[in-house]
């Protein structure tokens, strides 16, 4: 047997053992010894762990792929529906239930703003918390524009520009739908944010699940289910769902506390992020600064403080002007 194959077998045994429950202290120390033995062992273990996680998408395939296992269907769905049904019934009691029956019929994918529509905006650097009539809460980030229209049949929100975080009150028969460009996000009970930058849409889910539908000419093209910890980025026909990472979602949502969190992010992306919040723009000069990667948490409204930090930590030249801060090396 080849060396790689042998290592791969051992790695699979360890991964299976570790996923089956905590190892005994003796096993744990044998596992650590095995991992420390060689980089090859680590490579094989990390690779299998990663590949096996990638195969988690099996869970998103939907019940019809479980062709050989008819009896799996009820089991699978009941696991989702029980907690959701409980949550929904609690929300029914708590939520204010004051809707007259409004125009309820609307074809899916062809939203028509209701006459009772409301509109909310924030300026550059602004932030706004909005309590919606159904008990849901919406927090708008910088430079954002949102319209809402609630009917007895559905709660609809149009994100025309910018970013918003939603805490949705559960309503069993009244779906909460966010329209962002050609993406339609249907909430299955959750906390999540949607950021729209032209045709690009980024959905970060903190808790629960949402469904992101791609719409074209009012027709549903395809859907992806995004669960807590996932971030979906969509543009054109592509939807990219990043591996589950609660940390990443937390940093994507740190704007809610007025902070920006970066993990090994390249400076151009960081500058673009600051510039969303401030009229005074960070401008990078020359290619050598573009390669710098930064990790840390910074107040979103203080690009000057961030620039000074760059100067002190990296010896980078900064030139503070009235409308911009130029960063060069």
């Amino acid at each position: 047997m080849s060396r790689a194959r042998q290592t791969n077998l051992e790695a699979a045994d360890w991964l299976i053992a570790r996923q089956d429950g905590p190892l005994s202290p003796g096993e744990q120390s044998r596992f650590e010894t095995w991992m420390a033995e060689s980089d090859g062992n680590k490579a094989a273990y990390w690779r299998l762990e990663y590949g096996w996680e990638q195969a988690d998408r099996i869970g998103a395939l939907g019940p019809d792929t479980v062709d050989s296992e008819e009896e799996l269907r009820p089991a699978r769905w009941s696991r989702w529906w029980v907690p959701m049904a409980i949550a929904a019934s609690i929300a029914l009691v708590v939520g204010s239930w004051q809707f007259a029956t409004q125009r309820a019929s609307m074809t899916i994918g062809k939203p028509v703003p209701d006459t009772s529509a409301q509109s909310f905006t924030t300026p550059v650097g602004g932030k706004r918390l909005v309590g919606l009539e159904d008990g849901s809460r919406m927090q708008l980030n910088t430079q954002s524009k949102v319209r809402t229209a609630f009917t007895a049949a559905r709660r609809q929100v149009w994100l025309d520009q910018g970013e918003a975080f939603f805490e949705v009150a559960h309503r069993k028969d009244q779906p909460f739908i966010v329209y962002a460009g050609d993406r339609q996000i249907t909430v299955l009970g959750t906390k999540f944010s949607v950021w729209r930058d032209g045709g690009k849409v980024v959905v970060s889910v903190l808790e629960g699940r949402v469904r992101v539908d791609e719409m074209k000419d009012n027709r549903l093209m395809r859907s992806s289910i995004i669960v807590g910890g996932d971030i979906a980025m969509a543009e054109g026909a592509a939807t990219l769902v990043t591996a589950r990472s609660e940390d990443k979602v937390e940093s994507a949502l740190s704007w809610r506390t007025g902070m920006l969190t970066f993990d090994e992010k390249p400076l151009p992306a960081i500058a673009a992020e600051f510039n969303r919040y401030n009229e005074r723009k960070l401008v990078l000069v020359g290619p050598s600064v573009a390669a710098i990667r930064i990790t840390g948490t910074f107040p979103s409204d203080k690009p000057d403080a961030f620039a000074r930090l760059l100067r002190d930590a990296y010896g980078i030249a900064i030139d503070e002007r009235e409308t911009e801060i130029r960063v060069s090396r």
Partner: protein, 191 residues
């Protein structure tokens, strides 16, 4: 010196998504199919050892230089080196370095790949993988459900895990005797 957690994170984020291309590269430059999996394993080992001193700025060129040098060394040691092989290897850099953003699978692509990967498994292995992934059953529960021994479940899970990993990473199944060269989609460079 970087610690394992940092290297693991980088290895998952930057290296593993390139597996399809790496396998394609090795297979293209090495005639003995049976060596491909071992060679790839060696490259991963070297890539990790090198990264301990500091993560490379650009992972793809870093890894392919290591892969090229490793193949040349192996060829020299095996005394099968030919000028064509070395010349071919010297040229490879120009083929790579583009499309960095495209190596991560889209959700739809990942789903399709999972589906294909599942279809390749034997019915029993597929069933066990589904019980694990969809119902979240552990070894003992799976054994009870199917009325077979825990050892058998463990062994079949291992087979499913390794085969699906090969398939998800687009690196070609190492478990089968011979694998067709990956098609262009699986190289990931033109998705």
């Amino acid at each position: 010196m970087l610690d394992d957690a940092e290297i693991r994170e980088w290895f998952r984020r930057e290296v593993l998504p390139l597996e399809g291309q790496l396998t394609h590269f090795i297979r293209h430059n090495w005639r003995v199919e049976d060596d491909v999996m071992d060679l790839r394993h060696d490259v991963y080992e070297l890539v990790i050892a090198g990264a301990r001193q500091g993560l490379p700025l650009a992972t793809r060129p870093y890894m392919f230089v290591i892969a090229r040098n490793h193949l040349i060394n192996r060829a020299k040691r095996a005394r099968i080196v030919s000028f064509e092989l070395v010349a071919d290897l010297e040229l490879v850099d120009s083929d790579f370095g583009l499309f960095d953003a495209e190596r991560h699978l889209g959700a739809r692509e990942a789903l399709r790949r999972v589906q294909e990967g599942l279809a390749k498994l034997t019915p029993r292995v597929r069933q066990i993988v589904q019980l694990r992934k969809i119902e979240g059953l552990n070894i003992r529960e799976t054994a009870e459900r199917l009325g077979i021994g825990s050892d058998a479940v463990r062994q079949q899970t291992s087979i499913g895990m390794r085969a699906l990993t090969d398939h998800m990473l687009g690196g070609g199944g190492g478990g089968t005797a011979r694998v067709a060269p990956p098609d262009r989609r699986e190289t990931g460079g033109d998705a």
